[in-house]
């Protein structure tokens, strides 16, 4: 398991190669890459703030919960902080499993809980100035559905 909060950009190939580790039991790698959106080019910058210490703990707890639910062979979560330009990568979640169902489920589960439980905050800069991004109720709904039997 690798969990990192960093300002630097990450390399997708390197992360997936490190996750796979030439383990012949791996048959499926599901990844999610989140990038800075700028609808109509309005966002000139996106700044990511976080709560050092709690962030890493909460991400580790989310990944461990995913590992208790699905047969995950290895997992990588990288979240960037600091100022980011439109189209830049923000977050990578990558899951290695024997089969695709487990990889997809664990990857989506981790993203849903990262979005609603991990202490990160986004502030957008537009021509109107800087504004904190509001939490979306759809993200909370996405996290809630994993409680269903």
């Amino acid at each position: 398991m690798k969990i990192t909060v960093q300002t630097e950009v990450f390399d997708l190939n390197a992360e997936v190669t490190a996750l796979h580790r030439n383990n012949p039991s791996v048959g499926a790698i599901a990844t999610f890459l989140g990038t800075v959106r700028s609808e109509s080019g309005q966002v000139s910058e996106m700044a990511l703030e976080h709560y050092p210490g709690m962030t890493e703990k909460s991400l580790a707890a989310i990944v461990q919960e995913a590992q208790s639910r699905w047969a995950v062979l290895d997992a990588t979560v990288i979240h960037r902080i600091g100022p980011l330009a439109p189209c830049e990568p923000i977050v990578l979640v990558a899951i290695a499993s024997a089969h695709r169902g487990e990889a997809f489920a664990a990857c989506e589960f981790i993203m849903d809980f990262l979005k609603t439980r991990a202490p990160f905050w986004k502030k957008e800069t537009t021509t109107a100035g800087g504004q904190w991004v509001d939490a979306r109720t759809s993200d909370e709904s996405a996290a809630q559905r994993w409680n269903k039997p």
């Binding site: 709560y51 977050v91 979005k115 990160f120 905050w121 904190w132 939490a135």
Partner: protein
């Protein structure tokens, strides 16, 4: 008891503080701490009013109004998270 208070994102900006020490009579819960902070008036009363949407973590674990506080606890106040 002495607490370390941390503020993040919009709350950090509005309250104008990111980290501060705070002394509170023991025993106390998160609700008692919020009451004491609201008593400062101004933006403190506004931002931390009962209906406002913010979260509290005690020692880096999510907490609620009933969570008890102890000497040396780290208490963070922040808006709903928006990462990813």
């Amino acid at each position: 008891m002495n607490l370390q208070l941390l503020f993040f994102a919009r709350l950090r900006e509005t309250l104008g503080v990111s980290r501060t020490s705070f002394t509170l009579n023991a025993p106390a819960t998160v609700a008692d701490l919020l009451g004491a902070l609201r008593d400062r008036g101004g933006v403190w009363a506004t931002e931390l009013a009962a209906g406002r949407n913010f979260r509290i973590a005690v020692n880096q674990e999510m907490a609620d109004l009933n969570t008890p506080l102890s000497e040396g606890d780290e208490v963070a106040l922040f808006p709903p998270v928006t990462g990813g």
